[in-house]
Subunit: 283 residues, 2 copies
């Protein structure tokens, strides 16, 4: 496995592969890889001849008061995980390689970013769209892999690819959880031991919401209220939002029908954690 630092190196590697008729999968990440990322890499290795994992903590998607500086990094561990999982290349550029002097372009959208995480992270999805667009143009993969844990991000990337006619298949992969249910996240290392224990309330509230729907409840407000009550019962939890929206438009819904996303963001000390479940009620 190779670690490449420049756009030109990645481009010529991918061109060489394409000349041989090989398919290419891309797994965009910010590094500090865990089993969630690993499941994406594994899926890509399974579906493509070659897999590129990008490891780039993208400054453009962090707000001025967010955790850009403290975001955890460990390239050696990432490289080991990628290699053992079967990736062929890590693309690990410096910010200066991705954002050259005079850089001023961006990709964004109306509507989808103006909900959920976009409300408290106003520049976040503009940064995500822009960097993912760049990575897609650099690697030109056949398929790209994103976790369902960042459900709004997944919906936004899918929309971008359709709207801008990018010839790439977006593959969404299920949330990977710890044994007690906590969704795997690089930000879990911010949790103090008591916060770590408290954070399990998120996956419990996911289960509660799913159970209520399985039991026939269709009133979105009632489900959200019950989930908020449960999370609120945990003194260390500070709710940013719990919401039920349409998965394709990110607009709030009153009745559980169609393609539904129930998503939450909750703070535990320094960590802002997200969790969700998605249901296609048409199926």
């Amino acid at each position: 496995m190779k670690i490449l630092k420049t756009v030109d190196e990645v481009r010529s590697q991918v061109k060489a592969w394409k000349k041989e008729g090989l398919s290419v999968g891309l797994v965009p990440t910010m590094g500090y890889l865990h089993e969630g990322h690993q499941s994406l890499i594994r899926k890509s290795v399974e579906q493509n001849d070659r897999t590129v994992v990008s490891v780039f903590v993208n400054p453009m998607q962090f707000g001025p008061t967010e955790d850009l500086e403290s975001y955890p990094r460990d390239l050696d561990a990432d490289a080991k995980l990628c290699e053992t999982t079967g990736a062929d290349v890590i693309f690990h550029p410096e910010p200066e390689e991705m954002y050259k002097p005079g850089f001023c372009s961006y990709v964004n959208m109306t509507g989808l970013p103006d909900a959920l995480c976009g409300l408290t992270r106003p520049v976040h999805f503009k940064g995500v769209c822009t960097v993912v667009n760049k990575l897609f143009n650099i690697v030109q993969p056949d398929r790209a892999y994103f976790g369902q844990k960042d459900a709004q991000q997944l919906a936004i990337i899918m929309r971008m690819v359709i709207d801008l006619n990018m010839d790439i298949e977006i593959v969404g992969c299920p949330i990977i959880r710890e044994a007690d249910g906590l969704a795997k996240s690089s930000r879990n290392i911010y949790l103090k031991p008591e916060e770590r224990q408290a954070a399990v309330i998120l996956s419990k509230s996911v289960k509660l919401g799913q159970q209520m729907i399985a039991d026939g409840e269709r009133d979105a407000k009632k489900i959200v209220a019950a989930m908020k009550d449960l999370i609120g019962s945990e003194p260390l939890a500070d709710i940013d939002y719990v919401e039920m929206v349409d998965m394709d438009t990110m607009k709030s819904i009153d009745i559980v029908e169609g393609h539904v996303l129930c998503a939450m963001a909750v703070r535990f000390g320094k960590a802002r954690l997200i969790d969700n479940f998605i249901l296609d009620m048409n199926k």
Copy 2:
């Protein structure tokens, strides 16, 4: 030569060409083709194995009070010109093919659009960036051709391609003029006979500016003032702007040095015409 109406048709045609190892040039236009466009097509035919001309009057780059509805269209004449010039495909989509239900993504940039034409046409370059980005993704050309007449557009597209790592060479081509100097433009048909005669003042002012610089003048304000005086001597001319800017940043300059764009937009009756000259003072 084929006329294709859907993204899928263009994509499979280009894929077939690429499989044969053929290079592809793209000439994006709004149709009503004249010798200016023809020079772009000719250049593309010269430099590539296959040439696609897109003919699409892009609603997204017109403001609400602009000439979207009245913009001239003549696909039959366009097809003849493309065929005789050696193009292989015209891509002529309907607006509904380019902007599907739920469309909400866009490409834009800060800085470069906030000058010259961007000041009086605030949504214009967002529409241009977005549609050109889409066309690049649909056709995936090796090279794309743009006229220097739309100098700000050329600078913006070049910037977009660099910033978003699009693997495409942008080729800028010189302004093509009528015998009396008027820059060729689809919008020239808006001109009444007396306005058509009056409009030659634009190319005369271009010559004046170039001559002043050749004679050693380096004070941008003096050159612009002299050009404005000349244009103002023509009663039918209504100046939108005459400006000297840095070609790479579109920022106003005081002294003529570096990569310089001197650009103007002037109304004659219903027609808003543009003209310019570019000088690289380092050469």
